[in-house]
């Protein structure tokens, strides 16, 4: 029992890192930079002495101002981010970087630059498919970004600093991967909601804090007596757009299923793989971010599908929930093809379209319950 308490306490510690992020950011002396896409190479900012933090768009209850500027038929996650920017939520940060992870993010960059002039904005071209040529180009863009950071902060970003940043980020990835091994093995250490909170804690840019707390959790898990193997319940994977909707997770878990894998930016997509520590750092960073790129914006859809199928196997997934934020064009375009391929592999799929604030939760809950009940009992 004591071991279980230690585990819960360690989980709380990580979740609190996310909950208290604003206090921690404001208390830290280092300059901060916001980002919105997981294709943003945090290593470069860490090497420059910055705190790279993810903008999550969850603090403003209304996105009216953002809608008035960008329009209603727009990704509500990005509208929420913009809304936070307009409300000055990130005024303590020096700037925001926008990777070209979709057309709407590019437009968000332009709107942010125009409407929030107090913050410096940066744009990073991101190839939409992967080849030797695109990797080389992405590495060139990263070198340009490094030069910009050096000029902005008046310090040299050495190869050594980059290697150190790679090491810190790789360590975070390793720790997350070790934690998720428990999920693969069927030991449900975290609820679906906690898993997302843990990944979000990793995206606060407070890497050393995060690594310490994660190490403590993993030590507690290793030291604890493994609980008796649970009855194998129905195992669900969620994939698609930006996702952190607790109401939807509750609808899955309260029905008796387990959310075992999140193939989203707040899930495994964030911490997969490792940057090669022995290669030239910028090339290694560019290669890593392009090779692990399985978001809907990437053109080679079969790479994405193979990645989904691999996760289904690794996590012993029984069914997939394909979640798309309304107006998330890339995920909406992919859906018919993804559905076809998953049906071929005899994997049940439920498609859900919703918005950032999930105004249609009641109907979604009914659909999830119906979908799962027919498969679980």
């Amino acid at each position: 029992m004591r071991g279980e308490d230690t585990i819960r306490q360690a989980i709380r510690g990580i979740v609190d890192l996310y909950r208290n992020r604003f206090d921690l950011w404001k208390a830290a002396d280092s300059p901060k930079i916001g980002w919105v896409s997981i294709q943003t190479p945090e290593e470069i900012f860490l090497a420059a002495g910055l705190i790279p933090l993810r903008i999550t768009g969850e603090l403003e209850s209304s996105a009216t101002d953002a809608c008035a500027r960008l329009g209603n038929n727009y990704c509500s996650y990005l509208l929420s981010c913009f809304s936070e920017g307009l409300a000055g939520v990130y005024d303590f940060a020096d700037g925001v970087i926008f990777a070209d992870a979709c057309d709407m993010r590019k437009k968000l960059w332009e709107a942010w630059t125009r409407d929030i002039p107090s913050m410096t904005t940066y744009f990073l071209d991101l190839p939409c498919y992967v080849s030797a040529i695109s990797k080389e180009y992405f590495a060139q863009r990263l070198r340009k970004l490094i030069t910009e950071m050096e000029h902005r902060y008046g310090r040299k970003i050495s190869e050594e600093a980059l290697r150190e940043a790679i090491d810190i980020c790789n360590r975070s990835r390793t720790l997350m991967q070790r934690l998720y091994r428990y999920k693969k093995g069927g030991r449900q250490v975290l609820t679906g909601g906690e898993s997302i909170q843990v990944v979000k804690a990793a995206t606060t840019g407070l890497k050393e804090h995060f690594n310490r707390k994660m190490s403590a959790l993993l030590e507690a898990l290793a030291a604890a007596e493994p609980p008796p193997a649970p009855r194998k319940g129905h195992r669900v994977m969620i994939c698609g757009s930006y996702f952190d909707q607790q109401g939807i997770i509750d609808a899955i878990e309260n029905g008796g299923a387990a959310l075992v894998c999140e193939d989203i930016s707040n899930g495994v997509k964030y911490f997969e793989g490792q940057i090669d520590p022995d290669a030239e750092p910028v090339t290694a960073i560019a290669d890593y971010y392009l090779e692990k790129y399985t978001s809907a914006r990437r053109l080679e859809i079969d790479v994405r599908i193979q990645h989904i199928l691999d996760l289904v196997q690794e996590y012993q997934v029984d069914s997939v929930i394909y979640y798309s934020i309304k107006f998330c064009d890339t995920n909406l375009h992919d859906y018919p093809y993804v559905l076809e391929r998953l049906r071929e592999a005899k994997i049940p799929v439920l498609s859900i379209e919703s918005e950032r604030n999930v105004t249609n939760l009641a109907s979604i809950r009914t659909r999830i319950q119906t979908f799962l009940e027919s498969r679980m009992f």
Partner: protein
Amino acid sequence: MEQERNGQRRSVQYQNLLRLIGDLRPDAEIDGPQLRASRMRSIVNCHRLVEAYKERSRVAYVSEQFPTEIAFAFEAIPWNIESMSNMLAQSADVNRILQLTEEQNLSRDICSFLRGPYGMMLANCYPRPNVVLTNNQPCEGLSKLIYISGKRYSVPILPLHTPDTIDEDSLRYLVKQMQYLISQLEGEFGVELAPDSLRAAVEHSNQAREYFSETIRLLETHKLAGVSRELHEIFGMNYFGAKQNAQICKVLFEEALELAKGEEKKGKRVMWIGQAPEESHELLQYMNRVVDIVYWAPLWEANALVLDEDEPLRSMAHRAILYHWNAERMRVDTLRMCETFGIEGFVISNVWGCRNMMGINPMLRDLAASRKLKYLTINIDLVDRNNYTFNHIKNRVDAFLELMQ
């Protein structure tokens, strides 16, 4: 497999298309084009359509601003899958086509200019491509649709990524991609690209653009009935690189020159920004009575860029990047248009599902405000009639036209 191959026979696909477009809505019946250039374009379009459905033809699906000179250099017919949406919009069967996409789980929130072509493919109306050439322009929705269509037909897919940034690295990057794409096409078509073929396509493209630009210059000072619209059509057709396109542009210029002798610029001029319906559409007919509509896209700086005949790929790369919907570059370009063409108002046509248009809306509104121009934003859908009727926007259009008067 054999059955599938028979189903993808182009002769079958051609019959499917004829059945679809043979059933036009009564309100789409229009008088024949007034300009000779328009009639020529119709003939060229009919010819390429017929050719594309022949089994022996090389058909390359392309996105809207793909450097078609490359396709022409390989004697392939570039099939701009999006441009067929306007034809679909006039079909009485449009709902059936869109319904097919919904049955295949494609969201209705996606732009109907993309749902339409997807439905045409599902209805087996498009000619099976030999190869799919895609770039991320004008939007990644289109590039994804084209990419997935390549998977559906099981043909090679050759992508280009056009970066947003313009500098030496991005130009070199795009040139390298084009070189690779050409080498892949050589393998696919089993021919080596003769330097003369590309040079000829580039020459045709430059000739067309020269006439295109000269015609635009006449619009600076004259109201020329139907000319801006025809430029818009030529832009949308993106047939640059074909000899016929150079001839169409030449004829248009000659006609515009003739028209300019008789008519001076009159009335208030507004710029139509965004997707435009067919010329006979009630909305355009209604507005044309009060204002002189000039179309935005043909006036883009990128259209006027002459390709370097010694280094064509590099100048194609430059042009491609200029075609991106970059708000700041478009602001500067649109400001130039306002000053040069005496624009007094904007009509911002926000087609349901077009995120690019929505994304640059703030820039356009700010620009209009700073120049004290009147502007009207209308949310419309030019293909899916479930999303739009004229009555929904008539009050706003009337108010705008009153302001213009």
